[in-house]
């Protein structure tokens, strides 16, 4: 039972996915459960959202280095559409194309159907060990240090970065992995939320429940701007003091802030 089964994989997707650096077994799965066929069909759907729905304007995809790399971006828009579109940019605009592994909220692995699909699409629960294994494979990993705090942001806090955790930076120091900061703009307006409805959300076991103007959890077709920054190669020990790590984290956050502004400066209208 695959809801994506009806989608036809064309030459563009076929050609680009043939150049992915993934180790597949005789059944088309990689050791972590990524499935090429499922991924290709998702790319067909994702491409439509990337080009027609959000009309993503992507700048700087050529800055993503080959081999292991961590993409660090801001998070917003209630649903992780921004993560999906960043993944699309990495597949459609990078040379060679990348299948990025998002470090996903733990809730996903416990949720029916989601738990199945996020793995097939090469996503993983965000644990340090999973991230290390991906780096060892030379893969691209995507993290949102704001986590759900960023995703559930309400309207008046838009484009204001939430506090960044520092775990991602320690991992990059440990695995000597470059960080590519990415600024995502336009997703904030795709689903404005005026309240997180915390008490009701808690009742349903969710981190937040957005109160949107349409009342439906459907993102609006805002035009979106994805801006890649230059790779940053930090030096230092992963066991450094929080203060030292915090300084580096703030540098990444400042860079992301700058890249968001760069995206917004290209914008002429929200839609």
């Amino acid at each position: 039972m695959d809801p994506l089964a009806a989608l036809r994989v064309d030459e563009e997707i076929e050609g680009r996915s043939a150049r992915l650096a993934v180790r597949l077994n005789e059944y088309g799965y990689d050791p972590w459960g990524f499935h090429l066929g499922t991924f290709q069909r998702a790319m067909v759907l994702g491409r439509w959202f990337y080009r027609r729905y959000f009309r993503c304007d992507t700048v700087g995809a050529e800055k993503v280095p080959r081999g292991r790399v961590m993409l660090v971006a801001n998070h917003s828009g209630q649903l992780p559409c921004d993560a999906a579109m960043l993944a699309m940019a990495l597949f459609l605009e990078c040379e060679p194309p990348r299948a990025v592994t998002g470090m996903v909220e733990r809730l996903a692995a416990r949720t029916p159907f989601v738990s199945e699909y996020f793995v097939r699409l090469g996503q993983m629960t965000g644990t340090p060990e999973n991230c290390r294994q991906m780096f060892e494979e030379g893969r691209a990993v995507m993290v949102f240090p704001e986590g759900v705090r960023g995703l559930g942001k309400v309207w008046r806090d838009r484009y204001r970065l939430e506090r960044f955790g520092g775990g991602f930076l320690r991992l990059c120091l440990e695995c000597r992995t470059p960080i590519v900061p990415v600024g995502l703009a336009g997703f904030e307006e795709s689903m404005p939320s005026f309240s997180q409805l915390r008490p009701l959300a808690r009742l349903l076991g969710l981190p937040y429940l957005p109160l949107t103007p349409t009342l439906l959890p459907v993102p609006l077709p805002t035009r979106c701007y994805i801006t890649f920054g230059d790779p940053i190669r930090f030096r230092g020990s992963p066991r450094d003091d929080d203060a030292l790590i915090g300084k580096k984290v703030r540098r990444v956050a400042a860079e992301i802030d700058r890249l968001i502004q760069a995206g917004l400066s290209r914008r002429t209208s929200i839609f």
């Binding site: 077994n25 059944y27 799965y29 692995a109 029916p112 199945e116 629960t125 294994q133």
Partner: protein
């Protein structure tokens, strides 16, 4: 251990009449004197192998160890199925393993190889993708029914520091499949319609029985080996694909219904495991076999396809 000196050496295998025990006895009989014990008889042992029907917890087993003086003991006699009640299983597994180590220490055994299992890590949603041997043994958290297997594993690994002179090797293989294996998992995969948890399809890691036997042979023969090792085979694929390759159909059941259904069917003895083991078909429990390969040079020989289609 050269081939010339090998002939005189004795390997004692517990649980020799089981599927893995028989395969192992045949392999080891080529190079060792093999003494096999089991509670059940095995009437057609290979040439050069002696098989005795004894209970590990009885004096007759101690006598056998004293008389045959094996250099190596391979302990396969762990009950992993749920057809005996929990207390009985506990006594067989813990008591049997304890007897094996006590007699081994008393009668000059050089090496004890215990066949534990990767299930001791437990199937949890937050499991790292490929667990190393240092990962905590969480199985009893979600599946209290198998805490005796966790305890047996822990008891065996404790021998490593308690008795530095004894070469203890604890193997934690992934799901063993093959034409002769009778296990909880193989019974599950051989059901006509295999119930699964709707919306969950975890990676399921398999090793072919012949590859596992090769790994145990390596654990017996590799000089100066001691420690805890995961043992992996050709790889991992989603559970639904394992079922499909076994020539069966899945029956996805919503989780709130699956628990009571499994419990009911388990009590009627038509389902191989209790509801407490459902996490193993819902969440992944995949392990890294790198350390064992590095220590022994073990390589699997059966491809993923050969492994998955071997027990139709």
């Amino acid at each position: 251990m050269g081939a010339a000196a090998g002939r005189a050496r004795t390997v004692l295998i517990t649980g020799v009449a089981g599927g893995k025990g028989r395969l192992l006895a045949r392999r080891l009989a080529e190079r060792f004197r093999v003494v096999g014990v089991d509670r059940l008889p095995w009437r057609t042992p290979p040439e050069g192998a002696e098989v005795q029907a004894v209970d590990l917890r009885k004096r007759s087993f101690e006598q056998l160890v004293r008389r045959r003086r094996p250099q190596v003991v391979v302990h396969l006699a762990l009950v992993r199925h749920f057809q005996v009640d929990e207390a009985e299983r506990h006594h067989i597994n813990i008591g049997g393993t304890r007897a094996v180590f006590e007699h081994a220490l008393r009668y000059g055994v050089e090496r004890v190889v215990v066949l534990s299992s990767s299930t001791v890590y437990g199937a949890l949603p937050d499991n790292g993708a490929y667990l190393g041997e240092e990962a905590p043994l969480n199985a009893a958290l979600l599946s209290p029914e198998i805490r005796d297997l966790v305890q047996t594993d822990t008891y065996s690994t404790a021998q490593l520091w308690q008795h530095p002179g004894l070469s203890t090797v604890v193997l934690r293989p992934v799901n063993v499949v093959g034409p002769t294996v009778h296990s909880v998992i193989s019974r599950y995969l051989r059901m006509r319609r295999v119930p699964t948890v709707l919306g969950f399809d975890p990676l399921f890691q398999v090793i072919h029985e012949e590859d596992l036997v090769e790994a145990v042979v390596r654990a017996v023969e590799t000089p100066a080996l001691r420690g805890v090792y995961n043992v992996t085979g050709a790889g991992a694929v989603p559970l639904s694909l394992v079922i499909q390759e076994a020539g069966r159909a899945t029956l996805p059941v919503p989780e709130p219904l699956l628990g009571p259904l499994v419990d009911r069917l388990f009590r009627l003895r038509v389902f191989p495991f209790p509801a407490g083991a459902i996490p193993f078909i819902k969440f992944p429990c995949t392990v890294s076999g790198r350390a064992f390969k590095a220590a022994t040079g073990f390589r699997f020989e059966r491809s993923l396809r050969q492994t998955l289609t071997s027990f139709r």
